[in-house]
Symmetry: C2
Subunit: 482 residues, 2 copies
C-alpha cells in the first residue's frame, strides 16, 4: 500500500502525473534505463484497450499475426527516409549464442521492413490482395528523455500493415483505421480526439501522408494518441511487393501502416485525471465498481458484509468488473480516498441503514460530493442500476472532456496573439496556415508549439496565414505536445 | 494458395511436419536465422490457446503484468546455475541510440531475474504475499538447430512468477499450475499428457524441482509441452526478496515459475495430424466449421448459396467459428482436400438435394469417409447439431490420442529390451529407475532417449532398475524427444 494522495495538478503537473502512475500502481520504473514495468492494474487497463481495439480490427476484416523481433540492419537501409528517421533510436544486437554476428540485428522500432519482406513472398496475384494484417508486439526506440507510458524505450503497441492493389483502396484503408482509432478514443476512452493530417515535418519516416488523432491533456497540451500512414508505393518498391494485375501486368502494391500504443494509457490518465488522482472511463476501467461495506458496531458487521457479498456476486454474475473491499485494517474513509485515487468510476456503499432498507448507495467518481450520490438503490435491481450509472459516467466523462477541449481551443489571427494566448492560456490554437516546414521549426523553437494536425473539419473559407499573412484556406491546430 | 497435399508421415515424418506448417499457412521461415513468422492461421490458433490458458490463470487468482524485454547482463549472473544454463543462448544488445552501452543488455531468455528484482521492491510484509503474476511475452534463446514452433530463436510464451510466504504454499502453487497445464492440454488441446517430475539432468537452471507435462507425438517421440518450477529460496536470495513475517522477522520468500509457449502449436500438429495434414481440436481450431456449397447447373447455384448463406449466419450468430468457402475458381473436391489439410474439425456440405430437404451434411475431420458423415441434418436445428458434433469430435480426438499413447507405452525390464523396443517400436518406455545423472547421459548418448519424467502415477511397488539392477520404487518414462 502506498501513501495516499498525489501532488495537486496546479502545484506541479508533471509530478502529479508521475505520482498518479506510481501511487495507483499502474507502472513502476525498472532498473533498465528508459524501460518501465507495467504493473497489473496498468496492464489490465491495457488489456481492455487491446480487446476494444482488436474487436474493431476484426470487424473491419483484419487478422493478427506475429513477425520477428530482430531485423537485419540492412533491411532498414532499403528505404532512405525510413532509416534516416529510425537510425538514431536503434537498439542493436551484435552478439548471439556467444559469438559476434556477421550482420547486426536491430530490435524492431517498427516492422514495415520485415513485414514488407514477407509480403513480397506472399503476394503473387491481385487475388492475394488486400493483405490486412495486424500485430500486437513490443518495440524498442532508444529515447533520451523518457516518461512513464508517454515515451519509453520499450513500449507495447499494435501495428497494422496492409497491402492493396490500388492507391484508392490504400488511402481508404488509411482513413478507415484512423476512424477506428477515433471511434475507440471517443466511445471507449471518452477522449474527444481531433482527427487530421500531419504536417510534412511531423509525418512518419517513409510515409507519403500521416494522419493522427490528437487528444487534449488536462494542462492543455496535446498528445498524439494514434497514427495511420499512407505509404504510397515507397515500401513496396523498397521490398519488391509486386503482383500480377487482372491484365497480367506486374504492379507494385500500395501499403499502409497504423499504430496505437501504451501511450494511450497516458492519454487516459491526463485526459481525465484530477487532483484526487485517476478517473477511468467505465468501459476500460479494470475495476468498474468497488463495494465498500461500512459498520461501526460488531453487531452490524455480519449483516453489512452479507449484503455486500450478495451484491458482489450479483454484479459479478452480470459481467460487471467489481471488487469488494472488505479490508479490516483500514477504515471506510481511507478506502474512499484510495479508490478515488485509483479512478474507479463507481463506489457502492453499504451501511447498517442500507441493510435495513435492502438498498445501497452509489457514488460517482466524476461528480464529487452529494451531487454524485444516489441513495436507496434497491438491492434486487442493483445490476441494472449499476450498468445504467456506468453508462451515465461514461457519457458524463466524454461531455466533460469535450467541454474542456472546446473551452481551451482558441482561434488566433497573428503571431503576437498566438504567443500571448499560448503563454497565458495554452490549449489548442486554431489558425489559418500557409507557412513552410522552416516556419514551423522557427515557431517550435520560439514557442515550443507544433502543428498537431490539419483537422478534418468542414472548410471555413480563406483567410490570412497568422504567421506569413498569405491568403489560404488551410486550417492548422498548434499546441505544445508530449 | 499453395499446392495441395503434404508428404505422407510414413515417408518422412520430419518433412511431413514442415509441409503441414507451411502449406496450411500456420507459419513461415523468416530472413532472420532461427526466427519464424507466425501467419494469421497459426496466430489465431495461438490466440485461442492463450485465451483458454489466461481464463484458467485468472480463475486461479493470477493477474497479468509486463516487464522489460532487456535485462542487464549482471542480473543473470546473480544466480549461479541460472547464468550457467542460459549464458550460451543469449542475444546481447551492445549498442543503443548510436552509442556503445556501458553494460550490455540481454534480450530476455526468461524473466526470473528482472521480475525477482522488482519483487524485492514490492514485497515488504507477509501481507504483500502471495504475489501471483503472469506475463505474456516474447523471449529469445540463441538456438543452433531450430524447427518451426518446436524450437525457434524467438518464441512467444507466458511465464508465471509467484512469490509466497511459505515453502508449502510455493510447492502447492507449482503443482497447481502444472494441473492447470494438464487440464488445458487434455480438455482444450485433446492431448492426454503425462504429468511428472523432471530428472535433475533436465530441470530448469536455478530450480529446486521442475515438473512437466509430456505429450506423445505421432511418431512416438515425446514433446515437453509445459513446465512448472519450484525455485525454493534460490532466486529470493539472489534478488533479496524479503518480507517481515507475522512475528516481525525477516524471511526470504519462496518462488515459483511456470511457462507454456508456441511449442504447444507443434504439440497439436504432431499429436493429432495425419497423412491428410492438420487435425485441430474443435475447442482451439481457428475455423471450427467450413461450409462448402456444391452445385453443377447454373440454376442450382442460387438456392444452394442462399441456404449456405443462411446457415453461415445462423452458426455465426450462435458463436461458432465458421467459414463459408464460396470460391468459384476451385471445385468442391479441391476444397474438401484443402480444408482437410488445414484440419478444420467439421465440413458442412450443401448441395441441391440438401436444399430440397432444407437440410445439410456434416463430415467429421477425425473420421474419414462415410463413417464420419451425417446426412439430412435439418437446417433449422443446425447450430445445436454442429455444437454437439464439435463436442463429439473433441472427445473422439482425445480418445484416439489416448489409445495411441497407451498402445505405444511399454514396460521394459532390462537395457537390452529397452534398446530393442526403442529401435523397433519407439514410444514411451516405462521402467524402474535407480540410475544416476551420468547413467542418464550414457543412455542418451547410446539411444537418444532421455527421462521425460517421473510420472505422478500411483505407486507400483519395488522392482529392479532396468539399467543398474538396484531395487527401487521409482518409475521413469524414457523416450526420444524434441
Amino acid at each position: 500500500m502506498s501513501e495516499p494522495g498525489v501532488t495537486p495538478r496546479s502545484e506541479d503537473y508533471s509530478r502529479w502525473y508521475t505520482d498518479v502512475v506510481q501511487k495507483t500502481e499502474l507502472a513502476d520504473y525498472s532498473p533498465v534505463k528508459g524501460c518501465m514495468v507495467i504493473r497489473p492494474y496498468g496492464y489490465t487497463l491495457w488489456e481492455n484497450i487491446r480487446d476494444a481495439l482488436d474487436r474493431r480490427f476484426k470487424e473491419t476484416g483484419h487478422v493478427n499475426a506475429y513477425f520477428p523481433l530482430l531485423i537485419p540492419m540492412s533491411f532498414l537501409q532499403k528505404e532512405a527516409e525510413h532509416v534516416e528517421g529510425f537510425a538514431p533510436e536503434l537498439a542493436v544486437v551484435t552478439h548471439g549464442g556467444g559469438k559476434e554476428l556477421e550482420e547486426p540485428l536491430v530490435v524492431r522500432p517498427t516492422s514495415e521492413t520485415i513485414i514488407g519482406h514477407m509480403y513480397s513472398q506472399w503476394v503473387r496475384s491481385y487475388r492475394d490482395l488486400p493483405l490486412l494484417i495486424n500485430q500486437w508486439a513490443n518495440v524498442v526506440r532508444w529515447e533520451m528523455r523518457t516518461r512513464l507510458f508517454l515515451r519509453t524505450t520499450e513500449f507495447l503497441w499494435q501495428e497494422g500493415h496492409t497491402a492493396h492493389a490500388t492507391e484508392q483502396e490504400a488511402i481508404e484503408e488509411t482513413l478507415r483505421m484512423l476512424d477506428v482509432y477515433a471511434d475507440f478514443a471517443v466511445n471507449e476512452a471518452a477522449l474527444p480526439v481531433i482527427q487530421g493530417k500531419k504536417s510534412d515535418r511531423e509525418k512518419f519516416a517513409g510515409a507519403v501522408a500521416s494522419y493522427t488523432i490528437e487528444a487534449m491533456m488536462g494542462n492543455g497540451w496535446a498528445l498524439q494518441s494514434g497514427t495511420s500512414h499512407f505509404m504510397g508505393q515507397n515500401f513496396a518498391r523498397a521490398f519488391d511487393i509486386k503482383f500480377l494485375d487482372q491484365n497480367n501486368e506486374f504492379q507494385h502494391a500500395w501499403t499502409t501502416s497504423w499504430g496505437l500504443s501504451t501511450r494511450m494509457v497516458g492519454a487516459i490518465i491526463m485526459g481525465h485525471g484530477d487532483d484526487q488522482g485517476l478517473m477511468l472511463p467505465p468501459r476500460l476501467a479494470p475495476i468498474q465498481v468497488v463495494i465498500v461495506p461500512i459498520w461501526r458496531k460488531d453487531a452490524e458487521r455480519g449483516p453489512v458484509l452479507a449484503l455486500a457479498d450478495q451484491v458482489h456476486r450479483t454484479l459479478k454474475a452480470a459481467g460487471i468488473r467489481v471488487k469488494l473491499d472488505a479490508r479490516e485494517e483500514v477504515n471506510a474513509g481511507f478506502k474512499f480516498n484510495d479508490w478515488e485515487m485509483r479512478g474507479v468510476p463507481l463506489r457502492l456503499e453499504i451501511g447498517p441503514r442500507d441493510v435495513e432498507k435492502n438498498a445501497v448507495v452509489l457514488a460517482r467518481r466524476d461528480l464529487p460530493g452529494k451531487e454524485g450520490k444516489t441513495f436507496g438503490v434497491p438491492a434486487p435491481g442493483v445490476a441494472a442500476a449499476v450498468r445504467e450509472m456506468l453508462d451515465t459516467v461514461q457519457a458524463g466523462m466524454l461531455q466533460r472532456a469535450t467541454k474542456f477541449r472546446d473551452a481551451n481551443t482558441r482561434t488566433v489571427k497573428n503571431y503576437d496573439e498566438f504567443r500571448e494566448v499560448l503563454e497565458a492560456q495554452g490549449g489548442f490554437l486554431r489558425v489559418h496556415w500557409a507557412g513552410s516546414s522552416e516556419d514551423e521549426d522557427l515557431i517550435k523553437q520560439e514557442t515550443k508549439a507544433t502543428i498537431r494536425c490539419f483537422p478534418f473539419d468542414p472548410p471555413e473559407g480563406e483567410g490570412p496565414c497568422f504567421y506569413t499573412g498569405k491568403q489560404t484556406d488551410c486550417i492548422a491546430i498548434f499546441a505544445r505536445a508530449y
